[in-house]
Amino acid sequence: MKITLGGVAAPGSSRLNKTGGWRVFYPEFLHIRCTDCGLCQKLCPEGCIFKADKKNFYADLEYCKGCGICAEECPVHDIEMRPEVR
């Protein structure tokens, strides 16, 4: 590994480190009762929940660590945590 002068790193380069492998449970977005509140997107510690369309959120499983905050905080329980199958 080449050490740069001053230990400078490129902005946002931690994206190279895919943390999805940490996951034990993954969030299943049911898309049944979603009210489009966006709380899952707001409260995801990784910031890896995307909005594809109206009432259509999904998690980027390359980074999702499976903490379960989105499922816990969803006011209409439209997200379920399911055991990861590899």
Binding site: M1, K2, I3, T4, G7, A9, A10, P11, G12, S13, S14, R15, L16, N17, K18, T19, W22, R23, K42, L43, C44, P45, E46, G47, C48, I49, F50, D60, Y63, K65, G66, C67, G68, I69, A71, E72, E73, M81
Partner: protein, 303 residues
């Protein structure tokens, strides 16, 4: 080197994923909310601590803004230098200077430098992520560890109920320096957090924000409960959220509909597990008394 920074920020966040924070980390969430509220024109000086370690695994960085890591004890001094340099260049309006760190880095080890920087009146936003212990090195007690919390240096056992002292009132100490804006907020109240960050950014002079961030590893709760625990701390009265402008409390977050018993907050956390064994009833009463005193002092609930 991989030039990922030239592309668009990931999901419009200024704090990129791929960092090595634990699942359910309250601090990584708070850091992202703070940066997104501030926008891209910030320069961050970051103390040693969890936030620095998990976000900057060389040669990678999670930050999409200029960011510098300093030592544990001198972050406010480094930020002071950045602010003075901007001033000398006549570019002080171009960026918000942020000095941030954990409760250890700001309330304990770096407290002298923080006091000095506020006294000198630098135009800096100081942010303390209060996870109530030195989590990075393995949960040692800090000045902001709450009463009766079990940590590795204040273990609960036959002769002890955990940390014997109450939280240090850092916000009030900073306000006593004459800082124009001091606020306490919580990651469980993200709208309050964003409002206070944006309000602080618009004020000239030293600003101080203390953010309550649950730590699933150190507090011993389920990773999914981070936000719930943060809200319960406020709803029980153990973590009052308030704003102080020029030394006076100008607003508080009221408890609605009514205060919860402290047991609701303590029970899901392993660091308070010893309080639910026989013989600890008196200790629970003491913690309830702390909450009641907070509710009375900050007028959190009138009923």
């Amino acid at each position: 080197m991989y030039q990922i920074g030239v592309s668009q920020p990931y999901n419009n966040n200024l704090f990129a994923p791929g960092h090595t924070a634990c699942a359910g980390c309250g601090q990584s969430l708070a850091a992202r909310l703070v940066l997104n509220a501030l926008g891209p024109n910030v320069i961050v000086a970051n103390a040693t601590g969890c936030l620095e370690v998990f976000s900057s695994n060389f040669p990678q960085s999670s930050w999409e803004v200029p960011w510098i890591h300093s030592l544990f004890e001198n972050t406010p001094a480094v930020a002071s230098g950045i602010e003075a340099a901007l001033k000398a260049l006549g570019r002080e309006d171009e960026a918000i200077v942020v000095a941030q760190g954990g409760d250890g880095g700001f309330a304990d080890i770096g407290f002298g430098a923080l006091s000095g920087a506020i006294e000198r009146g630098h135009n800096i936003l100081f942010i303390v992520y209060d996870n109530e212990a030195y989590m990075n090195t393995g949960v040692q007690r800090s000045g902001l560890t709450p009463f009766d919390a079990s940590t590795t240096t204040s273990p609960a056992g036959g002769c002890s109920f955990g940390n014997p002292t109450d939280k240090k009132p850092v916000a009030q100490i900073v306000a006593a320096h004459g800082a124009p804006y001091v606020a306490v907020t919580s990651v469980g109240y993200y709208r309050d957090l964003e409002r206070k960050v944006q309000k602080a950014a618009g004020i000239k002079g030293p600003k101080f924000l203390q953010i309550h961030v649950p730590c699933p590893l150190g507090w011993g709760h389920d990773t999914s409960l981070t936000i719930k625990i943060a809200r319960l701390a406020v709803q029980t009265g153990l973590y009052p959220l308030f704003e102080m402008e020029n030394g006076e409390i100008t607003s508080v977050v009221k408890i609605t509909p009514k205060p919860r018993p402290v047991e609701d907050y303590l029970k899901p956390q392993a660091r308070f597990r010893h309080l639910f064994k026989p013989g600890a009833e008196e200790e629970l009463k003491k913690i309830q008394a702390i909450a009641d005193e907070n509710i009375r002092r900050y007028k959190l609930y009138e009923g």
